[in-house]
């Protein structure tokens, strides 16, 4: 027959395929015409059978060919096209209306396709991985053009492909996924058996869980984006594979007709993950997508509505990204009278971010100064707008306050939304106000008066307090002025609170016990509630009615918030600011002792901030904070621990000298290290704090460094990303910044590896941890002397790795070391940096150790022994000159 030459030709060039398909089809048609009658058993299709046999024989020759051979690929494509051609022809013939032919009846074409498929299916469980790969490839190429299939065949095909999606060979899975994806398109809307996974669901599973990125990519590109598949597809914005992440933005998300299909949370996730990606290519793909969203939703304002600016934490990043990717949009922005006259949350936000962006890019050459000037409103004008918005906000709050607390009518919902919007607009205008030019004295005074007035009203929503303080800081000539103003405001607020209270008693002088910074603060705090003296001339809380007490509490909380906000913005010493001193006994100390958790928390933070700028107070209060670290409730403990670290960073020397004594450092360090065993959040704070203390050189204890390394690799911190990411940043910075730090790590090298190897051996099935060899490589990298940042006065210490070598070899002598650990360590020898020069003493020590080990305690494991021998040779060779004439006895 003439079939083999057709295949022979088809394997070389795709160009011949078209012609050969037609020829092959003609042969098929001719064959189909040949049949013979078998008496009693109907017609035997001898011609068709001969054709099919010959065809399958050709196919068989391709099946064992391994992946990557173009000739085989071409034949598979050829067969796919042929199946397509045959099916097309058949469809056309039917459409041409051969009425006498029954719809369901077999045709030569359908019989050929079924025979081919059945044949290929036999290879799905073949032992030869090439055969499994090729049969899946065949099926993937022909499955979309197969047309109608009888149900049994379809079921078998489906089940067989589902098995191959789990094949252990990647190329097989890849082809199976492609085939399934094509089959899945036909399955949409079909009825499934109860509990049966749809093919789409299987693909969604593959896109998340297949171990190989290529397969996940194939699935990603073949899954249609629907509300059901979207969540899984979006998880891929954090896929390990960079290309795949890029594809999600470029291919999947860009193909959506509008971002409105995504929920607000999903848009947020897309923006956050995309713009926050570490790979520039992914960030660029995300930025392009986000830039295109502007048009897709119909303009920048709608874009901002879609992102829900008032609650979003990524809207600003998204908008800044649009400013960069869409200069056309950026250039069109105009902020005229009409704009300011008709503010909504989106417009206020846009103006504010625009101004921030202009100021941040001011340094760059391309910046057009006049744009910012024309955009910025006049100070007085903005002050009036802020005032209007503020009045409107207060009015809304009053309305809402006067109606029933349970808001359930639509009108009330509406008012509530208006309130939220107004508060947001106000917040944006306050942020903008920080960037205005206050050369105009009248405008400056107007703004100052307004903002001062705002913070002195208890009705001001708390989130706006800090923003007002930012404006006030900008308008104050000095920190001192800011402190004075805030102290005044606090006193006014508290006086008003008192005026409301009819039972107010004459003022007492502040108790000795409550003197700020006094050590007795701590005792007072620990003392049981019984003997609390009256503070600040106020009545005991117990003597007030509930409403008054609540109000007093509210005002005190507000005052503390003001003090905290103010103290966060100043850095001078408190000594110079006598106006503040009165607040300590009146407000802050009582708050520290309060039983109300929030009050106490704010009191402690306030006290901590005072201590940061007042050495004496810091010395007196340090023990109080240390005590609180142990006893405070969890949420508070985080803050207190942070305070302790801050105090150490700022006043370390004085605290150590003043309060703890000679063993101070190690005691504090011990104490802080305990925090490494607590909850995730506390662990993370302790890690970051200790890292800072070590980086600044305040803590130099090697044991602490060891603790940090252990914590970093421990399976118990696998889910503590804050801790892990802090340390993966810290270790290189710490080590490369100073040879002395590398030395410290060298000294703990062997014991640390041993400890971690022990942990690794005891690992539970669910736990994950890097192998000891990997740990070793990382530690070697951090101690690599070639990586230190050269600085005058601290030259790189070339011999660090050689000292590690000595430590390792000493370890290999030990009889109590695990055999596996010896192997790990021996293999690390080959990764050490061997310097060009090494002093005689070290060369000899190393040589003696190496030779002795080999002579007296040779390693048992072959791999370890070989690694050891290679290192031994390299040392002997490299330092041959230095070692000439040296014998062990001399040493």
């Amino acid at each position: 027959e003439s079939i083999p030459p057709i295949f022979d030709q088809a394997q070389f060039t795709l160009a011949s395929h078209r012609k050969n398909i037609v020829t092959l089809y003609k042969i098929h048609a001719q064959c189909a015409a040949i049949s013979e009658e078998v008496p009693g058993r109907g017609i035997k299709l001898t011609g068709e059978k001969a054709f099919n046999d010959a065809f399958l024989d050709m196919v068989n020759r391709v099946l064992p060919v391994k992946k990557g051979v173009p000739n085989a690929d071409k034949i598979i494509k050829f067969c796919g096209s042929f199946v397509g051609y045959v099916s097309e022809k058949e469809k056309k013939d039917r459409a041409d209306g051969e009425e006498d032919e029954d719809e369901d009846e077999d045709t030569p074409a359908s019989r050929f396709v079924a025979t081919l498929l059945k044949h290929l299916l036999k290879g799905f469980l073949a032992k030869d991985k090439n055969v499994r790969y090729r049969v899946c490839y065949f099926v993937a190429q022909m499955v979309s053009s197969v047309g109608e299939m009888d149900e049994d065949l379809y079921t078998t095909l489906r089940a067989s492909l589902l098995e191959r999606v789990r094949d252990k060979e990647t190329p097989v899975r890849l082809q199976a996924v492609i085939a399934l994806a094509k089959l899945a398109k036909g399955e949409e809307g079909m009825d499934l058996e109860d509990g049966q996974q749809s093919l789409l669901e299987v693909l969604v599973d593959v896109v998340r869980f297949d171990p190989v990125a290529d397969v996940r990519r194939a699935a990603l590109l073949n899954i249609s984006c629907t509300p059901t598949t979207l969540p899984a597809l979006l998880t891929r914005t954090r896929d390990e594979d960079t290309i795949l992440r890029k594809l999600v933005y470029r291919h999947v998300l860009a193909a959506l007709p509008t971002p409105l299909i995504l929920s607000i949370a999903q848009r947020e996730e897309v923006v956050r993950n995309g713009l926050g990606d570490r790979e520039p290519a992914v960030r660029a793909a995300a930025a392009n997508l986000i830039g295109a969203w502007v048009d897709a939703v119909g303009g920048l304002e709608k874009f901002l509505v879609m992102l829900d600016v008032s609650t979003s934490i990524v809207a600003e990043d998204a908008l800044l990204s649009v400013f960069v990717t869409r200069p056309d949009v950026f250039d069109e922005l105009e902020f005229d009278e009409a704009y300011w006259g008709d503010l909504n949350p989106e417009r206020a936000f846009l103006a504010r971010v625009f101004v921030d962006h202009c100021i941040n890019t001011k340094a760059s050459k391309s910046f057009d100064d006049t744009r910012l000037e024309t955009a910025l409103p006049v100070v007085t004008a903005l002050a009036f707008r802020i005032q209007d918005a503020y009045n409107a906000l207060i009015a809304l709050i009053n309305v809402l306050g006067s109606i029933s607390p349970a808001r359930d009518t639509p009108a009330e919902d509406d008012e509530e939304m208006k309130r939220e919007d107004t508060e947001f607009i106000l917040s944006q205008m306050l942020k903008l106000a920080v960037n205005l030019d206050y050369a105009d004295e009248i405008g400056r005074r107007k703004m100052f008066g307004l903002v001062r007035d705002m913070i002195s009203q208890e009705a001001l929503p708390e989130p706006l307090v800090a923003l007002c303080l930012d404006v006030l800081r900008k308008l104050s000539a000095s920190e001192r002025d800011l402190i004075r103003v805030v102290v005044e405001v606090v006193q006014e607020l508290r006086d008003t609170g008192k005026d409301d209270d009819e039972t107010v008693e004459p003022e007492h002088a502040p108790d000795d016990e409550t003197q700020y910074g006094d050590e007795t603060v701590e005792q007072g705090n620990r003392a049981p509630g019984g003997s609390r003296g009256k503070v600040n001339g106020r009545p005991e809380p117990e003597e007030m009615d509930d409403e008054t007490r609540e109000k007093m509490e509210y005002i005190d909380l507000r005052c503390l918030a003001l003090c905290i906000g103010m103290l966060e913005r100043v850095n001078g010493t408190l000594q110079e600011n006598s106006s503040f001193h009165g607040l300590l006994p009146e407000l802050i100390v009582p708050a520290v002792r309060s039983k109300v958790p929030l009050m106490r928390e704010r009191g402690l933070i306030c006290l901590g901030l005072c201590c940061l700028i007042d050495r004496k107070m810091a010395l007196n209060s340090f023990q109080l904070f240390m005590h609180q670290v142990q006893t405070a409730p969890e949420t508070l403990r985080v803050k207190v621990l942070q305070t302790v670290f801050d105090l150490l960073m700022v006043h370390e020397a004085d605290i150590l000298k003043g309060t703890i004594g000679p063993q101070g450092e190690s005691r504090i360090v011990d104490f802080l290290s305990h925090a490494l065993e607590e909850t995730n959040e506390i662990q993370a704070v302790a890690t970051e704090g200790i890292a800072k203390l070590m980086l600044s050189g305040m803590v130099s204890d090697e044991n602490v460094l060891k603790r940090l390394v252990l914590v970093y690799f421990s399976p118990e911190t696998a889910d503590n990303q804050a801790l892990r990411q802090c340390l993966s940043y810290f270790f290189p910075v710490y080590c490369y910044s100073s040879p002395a730090n590398q030395r410290r790590l060298q000294r703990i090298f062997v014991p640390t590896i041993e400890l971690l190897a022990g942990v690794h051996r005891e690992l539970d099935q669910e736990e994950e941890m890097v192998a000891p060899a990997q740990v070793g490589l990382l530690l070697l990298d951090w101690t690599d002397p070639q990586k230190t940042v050269g600085k005058p006065g601290s030259e790189p210490d070339d011999s660090i790795h050689m000292d590690i070598a000595i430590d390792i070899v000493r370890g290999l002598f030990r009889s109590d070391m695990e055999k596996d650990d010896k192997k790990t360590l021996a293999q690390l020898l080959g990764k050490l940096h061997v310097p060009e020069k090494l002093d005689d003493d070290k060369v000899r020590t190393l040589k003696v150790l190496l030779d002795n080990l080999q002579a007296r305690r040779p390693l048992k494991d072959t791999t370890a022994r070989n690694a050891f021998a290679r290192f031994q040779n390299s040392i002997t060779k490299k330092f041959a000159e230095q070692l000439a004439g040296f014998s062990e006895e001399d040493f």
Binding site: H119, K122, G195, V202, R238, D646, V650, A722, Q725
Partner: protein, 108 residues
């Protein structure tokens, strides 16, 4: 097994598939499709797509934790974080002692 990496040249020459020769024993379907034990050719349950669940196996509710190949949440840790106070993040610390890289060290 990765033994095939070393001989790309020979492959090029031998890629021609013989279609014209008469069928030989080497390409009989029976040999091609020689089955393998199922366990050998599929991924372990912990990896890859979920295995089809049969009706009786569903009762054992043992969920295998599978790796979904995502990166951890990025905390965007930066050098600035190591140089500032917890309570006053607006102010950068002056590191008083030994070498600490400046703010410009960047976060890579």
């Amino acid at each position: 097994g990765g033994t095939g990496a070393a001989k790309p040249k020979r492959e090029k020459a031998s890629t021609k598939i013989s279609f014209l020769d008469p069928p030989t024993a080497a390409v009989t379907a029976k040999q091609l499709f020689a089955p393998a034990g199922k366990a050998v050719i599929v991924l372990p349950a912990k990896t890859g797509a979920a295995a089809p669940v049969s009706a009786n196996r569903r009762k054992s509710k043992k969920v295998v934790k599978r790796d979904d190949h995502t990166l951890p949440d990025d905390m965007h840790f930066s050098s600035r974080q190591l140089l500032r106070l917890f309570l006053k993040p607006k102010f950068t610390l002056k590191m008083r002692r030994q070498g600490v890289p400046g703010d410009d060290a960047g976060d890579g």
